[in-house]
């Protein structure tokens, strides 16, 4: 067959060849790498940028024109915001700007530690529960019971029994967050173990620990990452609430909840003492939630269109 056959076909009279249709599939520009991911997911980029700024503020707090956040200056009590005291001073004459900046450290430490610890503990419990049939019933009944205690109240009860310290706050909030994470992991594990590739691995004689490590664990990572951001946001709110009602970090440590608790008595006349830590807290939580929402949309496109 010669190459010219198709082109040399004579067009019968009365017929015409249709014009070429426009190309409906526009060229897709594939973006790769971290930068590409961020450009495809602007929510993650915005949240991430805000969060990075706050982390830097926390790390470099001593160099950002702050003074000792616990230094008392009774002569300079409750000064309104000015060039000297950017956010004013509190009832004991302490610089609110310095206290708020140092407070970033407490909030981020608590948020990230709780996210990490609750995720690891929840992962371990969820894996056991999803894989070991006889343990599942017991573990999940205990988790049901734990989930019936409102998390803030559980944290309050634990804090009432221990001395106020950042470590104990982290412990109390972690205990309250574990049940939700374990339930999520268990659900993912239960659906994964029905997958054909897990059956194949079992059939080819792979041992259970290897199956968990190679086939189950990598697939729990995406939902875990999203869940961890929500745990982080919730932990930061619970920490500030605990400190606000006097059950959190000791008053000697400047945390946003503590600053607000101290400003509470004066808030009708000096609202700025409460306002600045409140604004920082809200922006931080928003940043974490934006990262979480963005990651969820990017990692789970089925959920993305509805929620």
């Amino acid at each position: 067959m010669s190459a010219s056959t198709t082109s040399s076909v004579a067009i019968p009279p009365g017929l015409a060849i249709a014009k070429a249709l426009p190309d409906l599939m526009l060229p897709v520009k594939v973006r790769r790498g971290v930068i590409g991911f961020l450009r495809n997911n602007p929510t993650v980029a915005i949240g991430g940028a805000l969060l990075l700024t706050l982390v830097l503020i926390g790390i470099f707090a001593p160099y950002l024109w702050t003074v000792d956040p616990t230094a008392l200056a009774p002569a300079k009590r409750t000064r309104p915001p000015s060039a000297d005291y950017w956010f004013g001073t509190d009832a004991l004459g302490r610089d609110v700007y310095s206290r708020v900046l140092y407070g970033t450290r407490v909030s981020l430490t608590v948020g990230l530690s709780v996210a990490l610890l609750a995720t690891l503990a929840g992962l371990a419990i969820g894996l056991v529960s999803g894989f070991v049939r006889w343990a599942d019933g017991i573990v999940m009944r205990v988790m049901d019971g734990l989930m019936s205690i409102p998390p803030i109240l559980l944290a309050i009860a634990l804090m009432a029994l221990t001395r106020g310290s950042v470590g104990n706050v982290i412990m109390a909030i972690t205990v309250a967050e574990i049940p939700r994470v374990s339930r999520l992991v268990r659900g993912v594990v239960l659906s994964l173990r029905e997958q054909a590739y897990v059956d194949a691995a079992i059939a080819s004689g792979t041992r259970a620990p290897m199956i968990i490590l190679r086939h189950i664990l990598p697939n729990t990572m995406a939902p875990m990452l999203v869940q961890a951001t929500y745990v982080c946001a919730s932990a930061m709110i619970v920490e500030s609430i605990l400190s606000f009602i006097g059950a959190g970090t000791p008053p000697t440590i400047p945390s946003w909840g503590n600053i607000m608790a101290e400003g509470r008595a004066l808030w009708q006349v000096k609202p700025y003492i409460v306002f600045f830590p409140a604004a920082f807290l809200s922006v931080t939580v928003l940043a974490v939630n934006l990262v979480g929402d963005g990651l969820r949309d990017a990692l789970d496109p089925r959920m993305a269109k509805n929620l």
């Binding site: 009944r141 109240l153 309050i156 029994l161 221990t162 412990m171 606000f244």
Partner: protein
Amino acid sequence: MASYVLRRILVTIPVMAIVALFVFSLLYIAPGDPAAVIAGDQASPADVERIRQSLGLDRPFLVQFGSWLWRILHFDLGTSIFTNLPVTSMIAQRIEPTLSLMMLTLVLTLVIAVPLGVVAAWKAGSLIDRVIMAFAVSAFSLPVFVVGYVLAYVFALELEWFPVQGYTPISQGFWPWLQNLILPSIALGCVYIALIARITRASMLEVLQQDYIRTARAKGLGQRGILFVHALKNAAVPIVTVIGIGVALLIGGAVVTESVFAIPGLGRLTVDAILRRDYPVIQGVVLMFSFLYTLVNLMVDLTYTLIDPRIRY
């Protein structure tokens, strides 16, 4: 139906037993010596010993748990270390403001959140949908007390529309009661509204794609009838579930809202008890709220059959 209700109630009992066991064992799980922590730093060894005895920490765990559970079943939550009053009567004195606040918040939330979610789903992708969703995301990031202070500053201090703080019992009239509670309810409801608006939208989007919605359109039903009768009714199960789960947010938030607006309810009781390290009171409040939460979710489970006749057990 009756057997389903009975079975659901029976399943709730072990959950409550685990809650009781867990709340009780907090005293033993907590690191360090709880008796010394509760007694405070200035306490003498004799004081610590007295508190240890009153908490029953000197007796074996199971013996103490048995007698504690026996008392709980007789509605005896112990006595306060600080006031020496029975915890049940302290809770009874403070429960009205808290329940009022929670009920009003619940009503307000349903009235606001469900229509918002329905409209967002109906106009999905439009500007109004984006505005509602942006509100839902940001409201979800605002801690209760931040909203509370902003509302109190704007509407009570600056505009003077509502009292800044305090509480009037409903026995002294509906309007004074409502006036005092409206700002706290909005503050407390903010997160809850965001949560329920989001789930309503998601659930409605799912339902609006169904064939029977197209049929309803084809036979010429009005938009409002389709949305609120056909679609919402079928989207209701997940919404009601989240309303039940979200009650935990209300309970936790009520503690904070009450301190912001100086409402003398259970939240204030808890905060005062924390400052005095009055553990029996804290334990009683935690237990009572956990049981309340379990009961709410039991009722939510039972309403499924009312909402959706397809659910038969």
